[in-house]
Protein backbone atom coordinates (compact mmCIF):
# COMPACT_ATOMS: atom_id res chain seq x y z
CA UNK A 1 0.00 0.00 0.00
CA UNK A 2 2.81 2.37 0.85
CA UNK A 3 4.28 1.73 -2.57
CA UNK A 4 1.04 2.66 -4.25
CA UNK A 5 1.05 5.97 -2.35
CA UNK A 6 4.56 6.68 -3.57
CA UNK A 7 3.57 6.02 -7.17
CA UNK A 8 0.60 8.34 -6.85
CA UNK A 9 2.74 11.06 -5.31
CA UNK A 10 5.30 10.67 -8.08
CA UNK A 11 2.63 11.03 -10.75
CA UNK A 12 1.09 14.03 -9.02
CA UNK A 13 4.55 15.58 -8.78
CA UNK A 14 5.46 15.30 -12.46
CA UNK A 15 2.02 15.76 -13.98
CA UNK A 16 -0.70 17.12 -11.72
CA UNK A 17 -4.14 15.88 -12.94
CA UNK A 18 -5.06 19.37 -14.10
CA UNK A 19 -1.96 19.45 -16.27
CA UNK A 20 -2.52 16.01 -17.78
CA UNK A 21 -6.10 16.92 -18.67
CA UNK A 22 -5.06 20.22 -20.17
CA UNK A 23 -2.27 18.56 -22.17
CA UNK A 24 -4.84 16.12 -23.52
CA UNK A 25 -6.99 19.09 -24.54
CA UNK A 26 -4.02 20.61 -26.37
CA UNK A 27 -3.38 17.37 -28.25
CA UNK A 28 -7.05 17.20 -29.28
CA UNK A 29 -6.94 20.83 -30.40
CA UNK A 30 -3.84 20.37 -32.54
CA UNK A 31 -5.27 17.21 -34.09
CA UNK A 32 -8.54 18.99 -34.87
CA UNK A 33 -6.84 22.10 -36.24
CA UNK A 34 -6.57 20.84 -39.81
CA UNK A 35 -9.86 18.98 -40.27
CA UNK A 36 -12.06 21.42 -38.35
CA UNK A 37 -10.32 24.62 -39.36
CA UNK A 38 -8.65 27.32 -37.31
CA UNK A 39 -11.69 29.30 -36.20
CA UNK A 40 -13.87 26.43 -34.98
CA UNK A 41 -11.15 24.41 -33.27
CA UNK A 42 -9.51 27.46 -31.66
CA UNK A 43 -12.80 28.73 -30.35
CA UNK A 44 -13.68 25.40 -28.78
CA UNK A 45 -10.16 25.10 -27.35
CA UNK A 46 -10.08 28.63 -25.94
CA UNK A 47 -13.50 28.33 -24.37
CA UNK A 48 -12.85 24.89 -22.91
CA UNK A 49 -9.37 25.87 -21.76
CA UNK A 50 -10.49 29.07 -20.06
CA UNK A 51 -13.54 27.46 -18.50
CA UNK A 52 -11.32 24.67 -17.18
CA UNK A 53 -8.40 26.73 -15.90
CA UNK A 54 -10.20 29.86 -14.79
CA UNK A 55 -13.26 28.58 -13.00
CA UNK A 56 -15.14 31.79 -12.34
CA UNK A 57 -17.94 32.34 -14.80
CA UNK A 58 -18.75 30.59 -18.06
CA UNK A 59 -20.11 33.80 -19.58
CA UNK A 60 -16.76 35.52 -19.02
CA UNK A 61 -14.87 32.63 -20.64
CA UNK A 62 -17.26 32.76 -23.60
CA UNK A 63 -16.89 36.52 -24.10
CA UNK A 64 -13.11 36.55 -23.62
CA UNK A 65 -12.50 33.61 -25.95
CA UNK A 66 -14.76 35.00 -28.69
CA UNK A 67 -13.30 38.50 -28.45
CA UNK A 68 -9.66 37.41 -28.34
CA UNK A 69 -10.15 34.95 -31.20
CA UNK A 70 -11.74 37.68 -33.32
CA UNK A 71 -8.75 39.92 -32.55
CA UNK A 72 -6.21 37.18 -33.30
CA UNK A 73 -7.95 36.32 -36.57
CA UNK A 74 -8.12 39.95 -37.72
CA UNK A 75 -4.52 40.70 -36.79
CA UNK A 76 -2.97 37.55 -38.23
CA UNK A 77 -5.13 37.30 -41.31
CA UNK A 78 -4.88 40.97 -42.27
CA UNK A 79 -1.81 42.51 -40.62
CA UNK A 80 0.55 39.55 -40.88
CA UNK A 81 -1.15 37.95 -43.93
CA UNK A 82 -0.78 34.49 -42.43
CA UNK A 83 -2.61 31.58 -44.04
CA UNK A 84 -4.60 29.80 -41.35
CA UNK A 85 -5.99 26.28 -41.72
CA UNK A 86 -9.42 26.71 -43.29
CA UNK A 87 -10.76 23.24 -42.44
CA UNK A 88 -12.10 20.43 -44.56
CA UNK A 89 -15.27 19.63 -42.65
CA UNK A 90 -17.14 22.90 -42.93
Amino acid sequence: MAEQGAVRRFLAEITPPRLALFAALIVLYLLALEPAGFLVSSFVFLFAGMAFLHRRSLALSLVVSAASLALIWLVFRHVFAVVLPAGRLF
Partner: protein, 496 residues
Amino acid sequence: MEQTALWFLMAWLDPSLLLMVAAGTFAGIYIGAIPGLSVTMAVSILISFTFKWPVDDALALIAGIYVGGVYGGARSAILLNIPGAPSAVATAFDGYPLAQRGEAGPAIGVATVMSVVGGLMGVLALALAAPVIANFALLVAPRDYLLLAMIGILLVGSLAGQSLAKGIFAGALGVTIGMVGLDPMTAEGRFTFGSLSLMGGIPYVAAMIGFFGVAEALYQLRHLDLAPVKQRVGSLLPDWRVVRKLLPLSMRTGAIGVVIGALPGTGGDIAALLAYDHAKRTVKNPSSPFGEGAYEGLVAPESANNAAVGGAYIPMLTLGIPGDAVTAVIIGALYIHGLKPGPLLMVETPHLFWFTVGSLTLANLCLLVFGLTGIRIFTKLVECPRGILIPLILVLSAVGTYAIQNNPVDIYWMLAFGLLGYFMKVYGYPVAPVILGVILGPLMDVSYRRAMISARDNPLTFLGEFLTAPISLGLTLFLIALVIGQTPLWARFRGR
Protein backbone atom coordinates in the same frame (compact mmCIF):
# COMPACT_ATOMS: atom_id res chain seq x y z
CA MET B 1 29.57 59.28 -43.00
CA GLU B 2 26.46 60.85 -44.50
CA GLN B 3 25.35 57.41 -45.60
CA THR B 4 25.82 56.09 -42.07
CA ALA B 5 23.68 58.90 -40.65
CA LEU B 6 20.95 58.14 -43.18
CA TRP B 7 20.95 54.47 -42.27
CA PHE B 8 20.92 55.36 -38.61
CA LEU B 9 17.93 57.66 -39.07
CA MET B 10 15.99 55.22 -41.29
CA ALA B 11 13.77 54.08 -38.43
CA TRP B 12 13.27 57.69 -37.28
CA LEU B 13 12.21 59.18 -40.60
CA ASP B 14 10.09 56.45 -42.17
CA PRO B 15 6.65 56.70 -40.51
CA SER B 16 5.90 52.98 -40.83
CA LEU B 17 9.23 51.95 -39.30
CA LEU B 18 8.78 54.55 -36.56
CA LEU B 19 5.39 53.04 -35.82
CA MET B 20 6.92 49.54 -35.73
CA VAL B 21 9.52 50.55 -33.15
CA ALA B 22 7.03 52.48 -31.03
CA ALA B 23 4.37 49.77 -31.18
CA GLY B 24 7.01 47.13 -30.50
CA THR B 25 8.31 48.96 -27.44
CA PHE B 26 4.81 49.50 -26.12
CA ALA B 27 3.80 45.89 -26.69
CA GLY B 28 7.15 44.76 -25.28
CA ILE B 29 6.53 46.52 -21.97
CA TYR B 30 3.27 44.60 -21.55
CA ILE B 31 4.69 41.31 -22.81
CA GLY B 32 7.59 41.64 -20.40
CA ALA B 33 5.36 42.70 -17.54
CA ILE B 34 2.60 40.12 -17.81
CA PRO B 35 3.82 37.08 -15.88
CA GLY B 36 3.58 34.17 -18.28
CA LEU B 37 4.56 36.05 -21.43
CA SER B 38 8.26 36.41 -22.14
CA VAL B 39 10.22 38.31 -24.75
CA THR B 40 11.82 35.12 -26.06
CA MET B 41 8.37 33.59 -26.39
CA ALA B 42 6.97 36.65 -28.17
CA VAL B 43 9.92 37.01 -30.55
CA SER B 44 9.88 33.27 -31.39
CA ILE B 45 6.19 33.45 -32.25
CA LEU B 46 6.55 36.77 -34.09
CA ILE B 47 9.30 35.75 -36.49
CA SER B 48 6.95 33.33 -38.18
CA PHE B 49 4.30 36.01 -38.56
CA THR B 50 6.65 38.60 -39.95
CA PHE B 51 8.54 36.51 -42.45
CA LYS B 52 6.55 37.92 -45.36
CA TRP B 53 7.32 41.46 -44.29
CA PRO B 54 10.32 43.45 -45.46
CA VAL B 55 13.22 42.53 -43.19
CA ASP B 56 13.56 46.12 -41.90
CA ASP B 57 10.00 46.20 -40.57
CA ALA B 58 10.45 42.86 -38.84
CA LEU B 59 13.76 43.89 -37.25
CA ALA B 60 12.34 47.24 -36.11
CA LEU B 61 9.41 45.52 -34.42
CA ILE B 62 11.66 42.93 -32.79
CA ALA B 63 14.10 45.60 -31.55
CA GLY B 64 11.21 47.48 -29.93
CA ILE B 65 9.80 44.36 -28.29
CA TYR B 66 13.22 43.33 -27.04
CA VAL B 67 13.97 46.70 -25.42
CA GLY B 68 10.46 47.14 -24.02
CA GLY B 69 10.24 43.55 -22.80
CA VAL B 70 13.48 43.58 -20.83
CA TYR B 71 12.23 46.66 -19.00
CA GLY B 72 8.61 45.55 -18.63
CA GLY B 73 9.47 42.78 -16.21
CA ALA B 74 10.55 45.43 -13.69
CA ARG B 75 7.04 46.85 -13.39
CA SER B 76 5.43 43.61 -12.30
CA ALA B 77 8.44 42.83 -10.10
CA ILE B 78 7.89 46.11 -8.26
CA LEU B 79 4.09 46.02 -8.17
CA LEU B 80 3.34 42.34 -7.68
CA ASN B 81 6.63 40.84 -6.47
CA ILE B 82 6.35 38.55 -9.52
CA PRO B 83 9.16 39.15 -11.99
CA GLY B 84 7.35 39.34 -15.33
CA ALA B 85 10.51 38.24 -17.13
CA PRO B 86 13.63 36.34 -16.00
CA SER B 87 15.72 39.51 -16.31
CA ALA B 88 13.65 41.15 -13.57
CA VAL B 89 14.26 38.54 -10.87
CA ALA B 90 16.83 40.74 -9.12
CA THR B 91 14.60 43.80 -9.49
CA ALA B 92 12.00 42.29 -7.20
CA PHE B 93 14.50 41.98 -4.30
CA ASP B 94 14.34 45.70 -3.57
CA GLY B 95 11.55 46.85 -5.86
CA TYR B 96 8.74 45.10 -4.01
CA PRO B 97 9.79 46.33 -0.54
CA LEU B 98 9.76 49.85 -2.01
CA ALA B 99 6.20 49.32 -3.24
CA GLN B 100 5.17 47.98 0.17
CA ARG B 101 6.51 51.21 1.63
CA GLY B 102 4.16 53.07 -0.72
CA GLU B 103 6.91 54.22 -3.08
CA ALA B 104 5.84 52.11 -6.09
CA GLY B 105 5.38 55.17 -8.33
CA PRO B 106 8.81 56.75 -7.78
CA ALA B 107 10.39 53.27 -7.86
CA ILE B 108 8.97 52.60 -11.32
CA GLY B 109 10.09 56.08 -12.37
CA VAL B 110 13.68 55.49 -11.23
CA ALA B 111 13.69 52.03 -12.81
CA THR B 112 12.52 53.53 -16.12
CA VAL B 113 15.12 56.29 -16.23
CA MET B 114 17.93 53.93 -15.25
CA SER B 115 16.79 51.33 -17.78
CA VAL B 116 17.05 53.97 -20.49
CA VAL B 117 20.51 55.01 -19.24
CA GLY B 118 21.63 51.37 -19.36
CA GLY B 119 19.94 50.77 -22.71
CA LEU B 120 21.65 53.76 -24.33
CA MET B 121 25.02 52.61 -22.95
CA GLY B 122 24.40 49.25 -24.58
CA VAL B 123 23.58 50.87 -27.92
CA LEU B 124 26.66 53.09 -27.69
CA ALA B 125 28.85 50.07 -27.00
CA LEU B 126 27.27 48.30 -29.96
CA ALA B 127 27.90 51.28 -32.28
CA LEU B 128 31.53 51.62 -31.16
CA ALA B 129 32.60 48.01 -30.68
CA ALA B 130 30.85 46.17 -33.49
CA PRO B 131 32.68 47.87 -36.42
CA VAL B 132 36.01 47.16 -34.67
CA ILE B 133 35.12 43.53 -34.04
CA ALA B 134 33.78 43.18 -37.58
CA ASN B 135 37.11 44.32 -39.04
CA PHE B 136 38.87 41.79 -36.99
CA ALA B 137 36.19 39.12 -37.57
CA LEU B 138 37.80 38.03 -40.82
CA LEU B 139 40.85 37.02 -38.78
CA VAL B 140 38.68 34.71 -36.71
CA ALA B 141 39.38 31.22 -38.00
CA PRO B 142 36.78 28.43 -38.29
CA ARG B 143 38.15 26.73 -35.16
CA ASP B 144 37.53 29.96 -33.23
CA TYR B 145 33.88 29.83 -34.21
CA LEU B 146 33.80 26.28 -32.91
CA LEU B 147 35.28 27.48 -29.61
CA LEU B 148 32.98 30.52 -29.39
CA ALA B 149 29.92 28.35 -29.96
CA MET B 150 31.04 25.89 -27.29
CA ILE B 151 31.70 28.76 -24.87
CA GLY B 152 28.24 30.16 -25.57
CA ILE B 153 26.48 26.89 -24.85
CA LEU B 154 28.59 26.22 -21.75
CA LEU B 155 28.14 29.75 -20.37
CA VAL B 156 24.39 29.74 -20.63
CA GLY B 157 24.27 26.18 -19.36
CA SER B 158 26.38 26.83 -16.31
CA LEU B 159 25.11 30.26 -15.29
CA ALA B 160 21.41 29.93 -16.07
CA GLY B 161 20.77 26.49 -14.66
CA GLN B 162 21.39 24.62 -11.47
CA SER B 163 24.23 22.45 -12.66
CA LEU B 164 26.84 22.44 -15.38
CA ALA B 165 26.07 18.81 -16.26
CA LYS B 166 22.40 19.58 -16.90
CA GLY B 167 23.41 22.61 -18.96
CA ILE B 168 25.82 20.55 -21.07
CA PHE B 169 23.15 17.91 -21.57
CA ALA B 170 20.63 20.52 -22.72
CA GLY B 171 23.16 22.11 -25.09
CA ALA B 172 24.13 18.73 -26.55
CA LEU B 173 20.46 17.89 -27.06
CA GLY B 174 20.07 21.12 -29.02
CA VAL B 175 23.15 20.38 -31.14
CA THR B 176 21.75 16.91 -31.91
CA ILE B 177 18.41 18.41 -32.96
CA GLY B 178 20.31 20.84 -35.20
CA MET B 179 22.28 17.97 -36.80
CA VAL B 180 19.23 16.13 -38.14
CA GLY B 181 18.95 16.31 -41.92
CA LEU B 182 21.38 16.43 -44.79
CA ASP B 183 25.09 16.81 -44.11
CA PRO B 184 26.03 20.33 -45.30
CA MET B 185 29.23 19.09 -47.00
CA THR B 186 28.37 15.69 -48.41
CA ALA B 187 24.54 15.83 -48.49
CA GLU B 188 24.39 12.49 -46.73
CA GLY B 189 21.36 11.94 -44.49
CA ARG B 190 22.08 12.12 -40.75
CA PHE B 191 19.73 10.90 -38.02
CA THR B 192 17.01 10.62 -40.64
CA PHE B 193 16.26 6.90 -40.03
CA GLY B 194 15.42 6.69 -43.71
CA SER B 195 12.44 9.00 -43.25
CA LEU B 196 11.88 11.49 -46.03
CA SER B 197 10.34 14.09 -43.74
CA LEU B 198 13.48 14.20 -41.59
CA MET B 199 15.73 14.90 -44.59
CA GLY B 200 15.05 18.63 -44.45
CA GLY B 201 15.95 18.70 -40.76
CA ILE B 202 13.79 19.57 -37.79
CA PRO B 203 12.21 23.00 -38.20
CA TYR B 204 13.97 25.17 -35.63
CA VAL B 205 11.06 27.59 -35.31
CA ALA B 206 8.91 24.70 -34.12
CA ALA B 207 11.63 23.85 -31.58
CA MET B 208 11.85 27.46 -30.37
CA ILE B 209 8.10 27.89 -29.98
CA GLY B 210 7.82 24.46 -28.38
CA PHE B 211 10.54 25.08 -25.80
CA PHE B 212 9.81 28.73 -25.05
CA GLY B 213 6.05 28.88 -25.63
CA VAL B 214 4.33 25.55 -25.01
CA ALA B 215 6.72 24.23 -22.36
CA GLU B 216 6.60 27.50 -20.44
CA ALA B 217 2.79 27.63 -20.59
CA LEU B 218 2.51 24.03 -19.37
CA TYR B 219 4.99 24.68 -16.60
CA GLN B 220 2.98 27.64 -15.38
CA LEU B 221 -0.05 25.42 -14.91
CA ARG B 222 1.72 24.16 -11.83
CA HIS B 223 1.53 27.55 -10.17
CA LEU B 224 -1.86 28.69 -11.38
CA ASP B 225 -3.13 29.74 -8.01
CA LEU B 226 -0.63 32.43 -7.05
CA ALA B 227 -2.87 35.40 -6.37
CA PRO B 228 -1.26 38.75 -7.15
CA VAL B 229 -1.31 41.51 -4.56
CA LYS B 230 -2.98 44.71 -5.67
CA GLN B 231 -1.16 48.01 -5.40
CA ARG B 232 -2.22 51.61 -5.65
CA VAL B 233 0.15 53.83 -7.59
CA GLY B 234 0.16 57.59 -7.98
CA SER B 235 2.62 59.58 -10.05
CA LEU B 236 5.43 57.78 -11.86
CA LEU B 237 7.84 60.69 -11.88
CA PRO B 238 11.10 59.75 -10.16
CA ASP B 239 12.87 61.81 -7.57
CA TRP B 240 15.57 63.43 -9.73
CA ARG B 241 17.93 63.78 -6.78
CA VAL B 242 17.90 60.00 -6.43
CA VAL B 243 18.53 59.66 -10.15
CA ARG B 244 21.50 62.04 -10.06
CA LYS B 245 22.98 60.39 -6.98
CA LEU B 246 22.73 56.89 -8.45
CA LEU B 247 23.91 57.73 -11.96
CA PRO B 248 27.51 56.52 -11.32
CA LEU B 249 26.21 53.17 -10.05
CA SER B 250 23.94 52.95 -13.07
CA MET B 251 26.92 53.51 -15.41
CA ARG B 252 29.02 50.90 -13.62
CA THR B 253 26.33 48.25 -13.72
CA GLY B 254 25.50 49.26 -17.29
CA ALA B 255 29.09 48.40 -18.20
CA ILE B 256 28.68 44.99 -16.51
CA GLY B 257 25.50 44.52 -18.54
CA VAL B 258 27.22 45.29 -21.84
CA VAL B 259 30.03 42.82 -21.20
CA ILE B 260 27.74 40.02 -20.00
CA GLY B 261 25.37 40.67 -22.89
CA ALA B 262 28.22 40.55 -25.40
CA LEU B 263 29.52 37.21 -24.11
CA PRO B 264 27.99 34.53 -26.29
CA GLY B 265 24.95 32.95 -24.70
CA THR B 266 24.53 35.08 -21.58
CA GLY B 267 21.98 37.87 -21.50
CA GLY B 268 20.03 40.27 -19.32
CA ASP B 269 18.92 37.79 -16.66
CA ILE B 270 22.47 36.87 -15.68
CA ALA B 271 23.71 40.47 -16.11
CA ALA B 272 21.03 41.67 -13.68
CA LEU B 273 21.95 39.14 -11.00
CA LEU B 274 25.67 39.91 -11.30
CA ALA B 275 24.98 43.66 -11.20
CA TYR B 276 22.85 43.28 -8.07
CA ASP B 277 25.68 41.35 -6.48
CA HIS B 278 28.14 44.07 -7.53
CA ALA B 279 25.97 46.80 -6.01
CA LYS B 280 25.62 44.83 -2.79
CA ARG B 281 29.38 44.46 -2.48
CA THR B 282 30.42 48.00 -3.46
CA VAL B 283 27.73 50.34 -2.13
CA LYS B 284 28.60 51.02 1.50
CA ASN B 285 25.70 53.22 2.58
CA PRO B 286 22.56 52.34 0.60
CA SER B 287 19.39 54.42 1.07
CA SER B 288 17.92 51.43 2.94
CA PRO B 289 19.54 48.06 3.66
CA PHE B 290 19.63 45.82 0.59
CA GLY B 291 16.54 43.66 0.33
CA GLU B 292 14.46 46.15 2.30
CA GLY B 293 13.86 48.69 -0.43
CA ALA B 294 17.22 50.17 -1.45
CA TYR B 295 17.07 52.25 -4.62
CA GLU B 296 20.61 51.00 -5.30
CA GLY B 297 19.31 47.44 -5.48
CA LEU B 298 16.69 48.54 -7.97
CA VAL B 299 18.97 50.60 -10.20
CA ALA B 300 21.77 48.04 -10.56
CA PRO B 301 19.82 45.18 -12.19
CA GLU B 302 17.65 47.52 -14.26
CA SER B 303 20.60 49.35 -15.84
CA ALA B 304 22.43 46.09 -16.42
CA ASN B 305 19.64 44.14 -18.08
CA ASN B 306 18.84 46.89 -20.56
CA ALA B 307 22.53 47.46 -21.31
CA ALA B 308 22.79 43.75 -22.07
CA VAL B 309 20.41 44.20 -25.03
CA GLY B 310 22.91 46.31 -26.97
CA GLY B 311 25.69 44.02 -25.81
CA ALA B 312 23.91 40.90 -27.05
CA TYR B 313 23.62 42.36 -30.55
CA ILE B 314 27.44 42.76 -30.79
CA PRO B 315 28.44 39.10 -31.38
CA MET B 316 25.21 38.49 -33.30
CA LEU B 317 25.81 41.20 -35.90
CA THR B 318 29.57 40.76 -36.17
CA LEU B 319 30.11 36.99 -35.90
CA GLY B 320 26.64 35.50 -36.26
CA ILE B 321 26.89 34.14 -32.72
CA PRO B 322 23.94 34.96 -30.49
CA GLY B 323 24.61 37.02 -27.36
CA ASP B 324 21.58 35.53 -25.58
CA ALA B 325 18.39 33.54 -26.20
CA VAL B 326 16.53 36.42 -27.87
CA THR B 327 19.35 37.16 -30.31
CA ALA B 328 19.50 33.40 -31.04
CA VAL B 329 15.90 33.68 -32.15
CA ILE B 330 16.68 36.86 -34.14
CA ILE B 331 19.41 34.93 -35.96
CA GLY B 332 16.71 32.44 -36.90
CA ALA B 333 14.66 35.38 -38.23
CA LEU B 334 17.58 36.64 -40.34
CA TYR B 335 17.97 33.19 -41.92
CA ILE B 336 14.28 33.16 -42.76
CA HIS B 337 14.65 36.52 -44.48
CA GLY B 338 17.46 35.05 -46.58
CA LEU B 339 20.31 36.83 -44.79
CA LYS B 340 23.39 35.04 -43.56
CA PRO B 341 24.42 36.19 -40.10
CA GLY B 342 28.18 36.03 -39.84
CA PRO B 343 31.25 38.16 -40.47
CA LEU B 344 30.02 39.07 -43.95
CA LEU B 345 26.66 40.41 -42.76
CA MET B 346 28.06 43.88 -42.14
CA VAL B 347 29.92 43.84 -45.47
CA GLU B 348 27.05 42.58 -47.59
CA THR B 349 24.24 44.49 -45.90
CA PRO B 350 25.92 47.47 -44.25
CA HIS B 351 22.66 49.35 -43.79
CA LEU B 352 21.36 46.60 -41.51
CA PHE B 353 23.87 47.41 -38.78
CA TRP B 354 23.25 51.16 -38.54
CA PHE B 355 19.56 50.59 -38.98
CA THR B 356 19.59 48.26 -35.97
CA VAL B 357 21.59 50.79 -33.93
CA GLY B 358 19.11 53.50 -34.93
CA SER B 359 16.03 51.49 -34.07
CA LEU B 360 17.49 50.40 -30.73
CA THR B 361 18.22 54.06 -29.85
CA LEU B 362 14.70 55.00 -30.87
CA ALA B 363 13.24 52.13 -28.87
CA ASN B 364 15.04 53.41 -25.76
CA LEU B 365 13.57 56.88 -26.24
CA CYS B 366 10.10 55.35 -26.69
CA LEU B 367 10.75 53.43 -23.50
CA LEU B 368 11.33 56.69 -21.62
CA VAL B 369 7.96 58.02 -22.81
CA PHE B 370 5.91 54.85 -22.32
CA GLY B 371 7.73 53.94 -19.12
CA LEU B 372 6.71 57.12 -17.35
CA THR B 373 3.06 57.01 -18.42
CA GLY B 374 0.06 54.72 -18.62
CA ILE B 375 0.16 53.11 -15.20
CA ARG B 376 -3.64 52.84 -14.76
CA ILE B 377 -4.39 50.52 -17.67
CA PHE B 378 -1.19 48.74 -16.86
CA THR B 379 -2.19 47.60 -13.37
CA LYS B 380 -5.47 46.24 -14.80
CA LEU B 381 -3.83 44.29 -17.62
CA VAL B 382 -1.10 42.77 -15.49
CA GLU B 383 -3.70 41.24 -13.24
CA CYS B 384 -4.98 39.18 -16.18
CA PRO B 385 -5.40 35.68 -14.74
CA ARG B 386 -3.13 32.98 -16.10
CA GLY B 387 -6.09 30.67 -16.64
CA ILE B 388 -7.13 32.99 -19.45
CA LEU B 389 -3.61 33.69 -20.67
CA ILE B 390 -2.39 30.11 -21.06
CA PRO B 391 -4.98 28.94 -23.65
CA LEU B 392 -4.24 32.10 -25.63
CA ILE B 393 -0.47 31.41 -25.60
CA LEU B 394 -1.17 27.93 -26.98
CA VAL B 395 -3.36 29.23 -29.82
CA LEU B 396 -0.70 31.79 -30.73
CA SER B 397 2.05 29.14 -30.59
CA ALA B 398 0.07 26.82 -32.88
CA VAL B 399 -0.67 29.57 -35.40
CA GLY B 400 2.94 30.78 -35.29
CA THR B 401 4.35 27.34 -35.95
CA TYR B 402 1.86 26.62 -38.71
CA ALA B 403 2.44 29.98 -40.41
CA ILE B 404 6.10 29.39 -41.11
CA GLN B 405 5.63 26.82 -43.87
CA ASN B 406 1.93 25.89 -43.69
CA ASN B 407 2.91 22.41 -42.67
CA PRO B 408 0.79 20.70 -40.00
CA VAL B 409 3.70 18.37 -39.15
CA ASP B 410 5.52 21.36 -37.65
CA ILE B 411 2.74 21.69 -35.09
CA TYR B 412 3.37 18.14 -33.89
CA TRP B 413 7.07 18.93 -33.59
CA MET B 414 6.13 21.96 -31.52
CA LEU B 415 3.93 19.84 -29.27
CA ALA B 416 6.62 17.19 -28.84
CA PHE B 417 9.25 19.79 -27.93
CA GLY B 418 6.77 21.49 -25.65
CA LEU B 419 6.16 18.30 -23.69
CA LEU B 420 9.88 17.50 -23.61
CA GLY B 421 10.63 21.04 -22.45
CA TYR B 422 8.04 20.76 -19.71
CA PHE B 423 9.67 17.65 -18.23
CA MET B 424 13.10 19.25 -18.57
CA LYS B 425 11.86 22.24 -16.58
CA VAL B 426 10.30 20.02 -13.91
CA TYR B 427 13.64 18.32 -13.37
CA GLY B 428 15.67 21.52 -13.44
CA TYR B 429 17.20 21.28 -16.92
CA PRO B 430 17.52 24.75 -18.50
CA VAL B 431 15.88 25.02 -21.95
CA ALA B 432 17.80 28.05 -23.26
CA PRO B 433 20.95 25.96 -24.03
CA VAL B 434 18.81 23.68 -26.22
CA ILE B 435 17.87 26.58 -28.48
CA LEU B 436 21.43 27.85 -28.49
CA GLY B 437 22.51 24.35 -29.49
CA VAL B 438 19.94 24.20 -32.29
CA ILE B 439 21.15 27.53 -33.70
CA LEU B 440 24.85 26.96 -33.07
CA GLY B 441 25.00 23.22 -33.92
CA PRO B 442 25.16 23.70 -37.69
CA LEU B 443 27.71 26.51 -37.22
CA MET B 444 29.89 24.24 -35.04
CA ASP B 445 29.51 21.46 -37.59
CA VAL B 446 30.62 23.56 -40.57
CA SER B 447 33.38 25.30 -38.57
CA TYR B 448 34.83 22.01 -37.40
CA ARG B 449 34.82 20.58 -40.93
CA ARG B 450 36.45 23.71 -42.36
CA ALA B 451 39.09 23.73 -39.65
CA MET B 452 39.79 20.05 -40.34
CA ILE B 453 40.10 20.67 -44.07
CA SER B 454 42.50 23.55 -43.55
CA ALA B 455 44.54 21.26 -41.27
CA ARG B 456 44.58 18.73 -44.16
CA ASP B 457 42.62 16.22 -42.10
CA ASN B 458 45.51 15.85 -39.70
CA PRO B 459 44.13 15.77 -36.14
CA LEU B 460 47.51 16.73 -34.66
CA THR B 461 47.81 19.86 -36.80
CA PHE B 462 44.18 20.63 -35.97
CA LEU B 463 44.74 20.34 -32.22
CA GLY B 464 48.09 22.10 -32.44
CA GLU B 465 46.48 25.15 -33.95
CA PHE B 466 44.39 25.61 -30.83
CA LEU B 467 47.64 26.39 -29.02
CA THR B 468 49.62 28.26 -31.67
CA ALA B 469 47.09 30.79 -33.00
CA PRO B 470 46.74 33.63 -30.46
CA ILE B 471 42.93 34.08 -30.69
CA SER B 472 42.35 30.33 -30.48
CA LEU B 473 44.70 30.01 -27.53
CA GLY B 474 42.86 32.75 -25.64
CA LEU B 475 39.49 31.16 -26.32
CA THR B 476 40.76 27.69 -25.44
CA LEU B 477 42.07 28.93 -22.09
CA PHE B 478 38.77 30.69 -21.42
CA LEU B 479 36.85 27.51 -22.22
CA ILE B 480 39.06 25.42 -19.93
CA ALA B 481 38.76 27.98 -17.13
CA LEU B 482 34.99 27.98 -17.58
CA VAL B 483 34.76 24.23 -17.12
CA ILE B 484 37.23 24.04 -14.22
CA GLY B 485 35.50 26.97 -12.51
CA GLN B 486 32.38 24.83 -12.25
CA THR B 487 34.06 21.85 -10.63
CA PRO B 488 34.83 21.22 -6.95
CA LEU B 489 38.54 21.54 -7.82
CA TRP B 490 38.17 25.30 -8.12
CA ALA B 491 36.21 25.62 -4.90
CA ARG B 492 38.94 23.71 -3.07
CA PHE B 493 41.66 25.85 -4.66
CA ARG B 494 39.88 29.02 -3.57
CA GLY B 495 39.19 27.70 -0.12
CA ARG B 496 42.87 27.15 0.49
